[in-house]
């Protein structure tokens, strides 16, 4: 089963690399948006899904990445990929002090604090004349979407790979212990601050790198698109729909949501948002923990030999023998 999963992943990766070469603009555009949201959802998933710190502000790093790339490219005429790389690294560097401060907040306070941070970044960008203020910056128009697409594909693939590693590592277990109960994790030897801040940094680098590509995709950067609340919220909803704190959740959520939203938009241009919103509500009521956890729970239930035909009997009683 596990092997099959990897074969499917390898085929998908080859297809994602080769197919765009023969795609027209519309499909490539849709594919780009899909991969972008997959990457963003994975970025959110690490700090929020694994470490349990729900962040409404990862878009701040997306915007910082976009602006850094734009400003550097205009100022230096370096290749945009180098600028985008620097943007990503800058996000990681900034995330260290920001994380060390913000992660002292818990629960809703952290979520709101991060929202405030993203707004602050947006306001700073729109009031900085060096960054073009409210009217933004124009980048030289690119000839093809392909390089941006491949950049985004590599970052999203990298985000998936990092998540896979987290899911299988001691670091990941520590993050999940923090998510479940931070004080208890600390009394069990987990250096909580270090683990949280590390997760936060990873969760900042990913949107930072993606933002650089986005700047090149739009060829025009202004505050409300670089720090777009809509993009932020969409990536969060996608991760939640797929199942946060899981390896496959963000992928499933992001792919499903971008495709369904596109199909609805194409067929019901007037009512699509209403239908889409309704669908989301229903899905989240039926599967509150997301699609992937629901499916794995199903699968496990079917594959565990049920003793005496059922659960809900308070568990198999073990022998009461503490030696």
């Amino acid at each position: 089963m596990k092997g099959a999963g990897w074969i499917v992943a390898a085929i998908a990766l080859v297809a994602l690399t080769l197919l765009p070469l023969h795609m027209n603009g519309y499909w490539l555009n849709l594919l780009y948006q899909t991969v972008l949201f997959v990457g963003l959802a994975y970025g959110f998933n690490i700090i929020s899904g694994y470490a349990g710190y729900f962040s409404f502000g990862q878009i701040a790093f997306f915007g910082i990445g976009a602006y850094t790339t734009g400003a550097l490219a205009l100022g230096t005429h370096w290749d945009w990929t180098i600028c985008a790389l620097i943007g990503g690294v800058l996000c990681g560097v900034l995330a260290l002090p920001i994380g060390a401060i913000m992660l002292r907040l818990r629960g809703p306070f952290f979520a709101i604090g991060m929202l405030g941070l993203a707004q602050t970044a947006r306001v700073l960008a729109s009031s900085s004349s060096a960054l073009g203020g409210g009217s933004g910056m124009y980048l030289p128009p690119g000839s093809s979407l392909l390089p941006v697409y491949y950049w985004t594909l590599v970052v999203a693939g990298g985000a998936f790979a990092v998540t896979w590693w987290i899911d299988h590592s001691a670091f990941g277990l520590r993050l999940q212990a923090i998510r479940e109960d931070e004080a208890i994790a600390a009394t069990l030897g987990v250096a909580t601050t270090r683990a949280k801040v590390t997760a936060f940094i990873i969760s900042a680098i990913i949107p930072g790198l993606l933002g650089g590509g986005y700047a090149w995709f739009l060829t025009y950067i202004e505050p409300s698109s670089a720090f777009s609340a809509r993009v932020d919220l969409q990536s969060i909803v996608m991760a939640i729909l797929g199942g946060i704190g899981t390896l496959w959740g963000p992928l499933v959520g992001a792919v499903l949501m971008t495709q369904v939203s596109e199909a609805l938009w194409a067929n019901f241009p007037q009512a699509y948002l209403m239908i889409f919103g309704g669908l989301l509500v229903v899905l989240l009521i039926v599967l509150p923990r997301g699609i992937v956890p629901a499916v794995t729970a199903r699968w496990q239930k079917r594959n565990t030999p049920s003793a005496g035909g059922g659960m809900a009997m308070g568990g198999v009683k073990p022998e009461p023998e503490l030696p």
């Binding site: 001691a170 479940e180 600390a186 009394t187 069990l188 198999v316 073990p318 023998e321 503490l322």
Partner: protein, 242 residues
């Protein structure tokens, strides 16, 4: 030198003195019980020792080294493990992974930590449930899980906060046997126990009595049994009755 020394620790929640100038010590391989009614300050004392609370007055020393200013995870790595009065399993992690978290301080890899954890899980009798989500365990099983998680640290000192609470009499006996066997494994323990004097007398080398945050007595089980202050403040009746 004692293994653990608590020196003149005071701690207040607002105006309520949860701990008032409390001192005590635990020697290597010794089992010390802290008894006292609900609200006497037992849990607060455990929270101070494990670093979750920082007392404004007093000091805690392990092997003569102060624990002042040390984060809880450092104190855990120095060899102090604890269980919690209100059981708090990592509900969405498996039983093995609950225990593996602590084992990680000795094991480099997750795989190694899980192997070590599985052994401990077997040891506390939860082997059949090792791969279950901890959120599905019963109260008794959760109590065992608390013990297993703390043992994974390979502690030199175990803080057992109300390990007897909520157990049936036969389960209490099992737990008492477990505590009695700790010194043989090189583990000292402080057991906070509200009721069940019968077991306290049986497992303890020494007993410390707390009342409203103050230490009102300390001694061997025999001494405590006959201490008039203890009888008045806490036991309330001659011990033969209990």
């Amino acid at each position: 030198m004692p293994l653990l020394e608590v020196r003149n620790v005071s701690f207040a929640f607002g105006g309520v003195k949860a701990l008032d100038d409390v001192s005590l010590s635990v020697n290597e391989g010794e089992i010390v019980s802290i008894i006292g009614p609900n609200g006497a300050g037992k849990t607060t004392l455990f929270n101070v020792i494990s670093g979750l609370l920082r007392p404004p007055h007093g000091d805690v020393l392990l092997d003569g080294q102060t624990l002042k200013g040390r984060a809880p995870h450092r104190i855990a790595r120095m060899g102090i493990g604890r269980t919690n009065q209100i059981v708090r399993p990592f509900g969405r992690l498996s039983v093995v992974d609950n225990v593996a978290v602590g084992a990680l301080i000795h094991e480099r890899t997750l795989r190694g930590a899980r192997v070590a954890a599985r052994e401990i899980v077997e040891f506390v009798g939860l082997g059949a449930l090792a791969d279950r989500n901890a959120g599905t365990l019963t109260l008794t099983q959760r109590k065992r899980l608390e013990v297993a998680r703390a043992l994974a640290l390979k502690p030199r000192l175990l803080l057992l906060d109300e390990v007897m609470a909520g157990l049936t009499p036969s389960e209490m006996d099992t737990m008492a046997e477990f505590i009695l066997a700790l010194p043989k494994r090189g583990i000292a323990a402080i057991a906070g126990i509200e009721h069940v004097m019968r077991l306290v007398m049986r497992i303890s080398h020494r007993i410390v009595v707390l009342d409203y945050g103050q230490k009102i007595a300390e001694g061997t089980p025999a001494e405590i049994r006959s201490d008039p202050r203890v009888i008045e403040a806490y036991l309330g009746a001659p011990l033969e009755v209990l």
